[in-house]
Symmetry: C2
Subunit: 471 residues, 2 copies
Amino acid sequence: MTLADLRRDDPRPRAGTPAAIEALRARFGARLLTGEDVRRAHGHTTTYISNQMPDAVIHATSEEEVQAVVLACAAHGAPLVAFGVGSSLEGHVNAPEGGISLDLSRMDRLLKVDAEDFDCTVEPGITREALNAQLRDTGLFFPIDPGANASLGGMAATRASGTNAVRYGTMRENVIGLTAVLADGRIVRTARRAKKTAAGYDLTRLLVGSEGTLGIITKLNLRLYGIPEAILSGVCPFPDVESACRTVIQTIQAGIPVARIELLDALAISAAISYSKIDLPHSPCLFVELHGSQAGVAEQAEFFGLIAAENGGGPLAVATKAEERAKLWKARHDFYWASLTLRPGAKAIATDVCVPISKLAVCIADTQADADEAGLIAPIVGHVGDGNFHVTLLIDTDDPAEIDRAEGFIGRLSRRALDLDGTCTGEHGIGQGKRAYLDDELGEAVDVMRQIKAVLDPGNILNPGKIFPNL
Amino acid sequence: MTLADLRRDDPRPRAGTPAAIEALRARFGARLLTGEDVRRAHGHTTTYISNQMPDAVIHATSEEEVQAVVLACAAHGAPLVAFGVGSSLEGHVNAPEGGISLDLSRMDRLLKVDAEDFDCTVEPGITREALNAQLRDTGLFFPIDPGANASLGGMAATRASGTNAVRYGTMRENVIGLTAVLADGRIVRTARRAKKTAAGYDLTRLLVGSEGTLGIITKLNLRLYGIPEAILSGVCPFPDVESACRTVIQTIQAGIPVARIELLDALAISAAISYSKIDLPHSPCLFVELHGSQAGVAEQAEFFGLIAAENGGGPLAVATKAEERAKLWKARHDFYWASLTLRPGAKAIATDVCVPISKLAVCIADTQADADEAGLIAPIVGHVGDGNFHVTLLIDTDDPAEIDRAEGFIGRLSRRALDLDGTCTGEHGIGQGKRAYLDDELGEAVDVMRQIKAVLDPGNILNPGKIFPNL
């Protein structure tokens, strides 16, 4: 089996799909969509994993409709793939066995804000930007920011995180409870609205990160946070990645509650300088953001600057005003577009791993050396407070040999992370793209996952071909 | 069925236990203990739930021994109850169906500290005090503090939390990964050492809080935190519980990162004053603790004092020196002993619920009124930043009528929490004591838990009679 085979399954249509489609047509009429464009738009459309389109698409508008679709698919053994905005990077929304793509983007309401409880209840199709726009008047916000303007349902299903997970955690920590339709049509609510509970198995965390293979999320109860009184941003250059990583470790050890701490390596900085026209030295940089009181963030920034200087870094350029901060973070936020300038015409393939933070510098250095050796352009940005980093490969995706080289590189990167007791994916998920590494990462624990999958979805209708090798 | 019936099952010995004991005697010889004293010490010994002793006790000294015991019990269908220090409050270590109590207290090593990664790896029998004593030289600590000097394995199994969960989270957030022996003897490791991961189902969180019913934890990888530069403690009286709760909500809304924020109601304060000889008004008080830099905690304390004053509370009495802080928190830490002075000769029965914080004041007020009506002495202390509070009932446990009244009260308390969209247990767990409320709390989700239990432990050998009504 080649690496390419491991990424995606060959199409394997299911016998029951036509009958399920007929049943759904009876219920949904013209709302059951089978045009090729809409089907292709509901297969995988990011990175190099080939699009595998579903046989039909339905936009659900209510929990009851979700249940009806699940029951029809269950009755006929047809695959069912939940779809949010399609920003997954590892092929999660592909339909290798065909079936129905259940688009939840129209279930996008903010149902309830309980401001005193710092929580809200949303439908799965709401995006994080829409959610925060609607929360603005409450003085609260939902922090998790995976980069893309993803749907909250998709973010929960893939256990997303992003730049400020170092302070606020990931979707794992910020979903209080959820409601899901299981493979047999049962609607279950996993937790009440209390902030903590010791009542029974943690089904919330079981569904978060299950990538649509155990249930279709129809409601989410989310933790919110007060918008901080003061936000301070800073950029600090370092002579090398190692001194930047040492600074991150010492910053956390000192108890400085950084909200974001992002590394851009020299190549990523070069791209940012030329694309965003910012004034920085051509060396690795840490971008930091501090949340707190005016005095608090100023004190923290000073302390951070001292730690950076001790490690040979600096000077720290700070900004507290919104427009200055926006400018400072522009280089980070525009990184995807900036990276494309490193090789005009190429496509960017993003992959991620996460290692214990003490192993981060060596993991990045070995990865840079590997990219050089493989002749790949591979800038690195990282949520380094968590030991999580992304490599963006700039690839001619029309060249199969180059894709093979990229796949080889991604395979070595994943195994390098595992050798350092890390994970093959810190936040992108397994999907189709990382299935080859899951057994190596977790061994017999993957069999336990398979048992849970088998007992909750015996017909394997929910998002087949994802997470598990050979399922 | 009476409430008393719901708390504990009648003894129901399993036919396979004698054969399992014979097999284990062949392996463990004199280390298989069957004396009545040691057996009774390994049944439930706290609160009013009757002791139900196992048929034999084995102190495991290695993962391999744990596996051997599991395999012997599995082969003969004998029950197996994991035991840490026995500080559970809801009957978790009782053996209603007899079988083996597997005592893990001798597996108590701190195996590894990765200071730069802010994590450590421990055996399950280490207690939190022993762990923090051994960590002292590293500048790091493990924050979770459920009151009792519990074992880390037991704390993970019951998803324990405590006074500083408002800042540091619960065991849910602080176990990075764990190793467990499953009911069929498989040894699985649920996660690598990376701080976050998106690789597969979250088996870590499935085992955390599973109360020994899905696996026996043999190793834990735990998050650690830097010991803060400065710690500031304070006590602040309030005219009533409502104004104290409003202060807590506004404190969190203001983004003040309180490490602890504890409520003692007027009755609890009275007990504390007379027992601990502290100088406080006879009214509800908030005990707060702030962790940070010197300037940071001073600023936060000032801000907290202003919020308290706006709600009619104050003055805030603060302390930063270790001995002053110790004195200030003495009343809180000694609360159990203090409460006993409210009714000399009585036993204390502790129960807990957790509600959305906006419902906390009404839940406490209704609970106080209920206790008055039922003629029960029931001081209240709470981890109010999480909406979690404890009621300590002072009961003559030799009087069955009084126990029935206490049980009626606990039942109403649990249902009151559920009516407010809270949970019947914020941190004590379900065990035997709260089984009657789980279905009401989570409905069909409990069936999903049962399916997972059935597929991973088809012989129901791991801690039978816990969590699930009628299992």
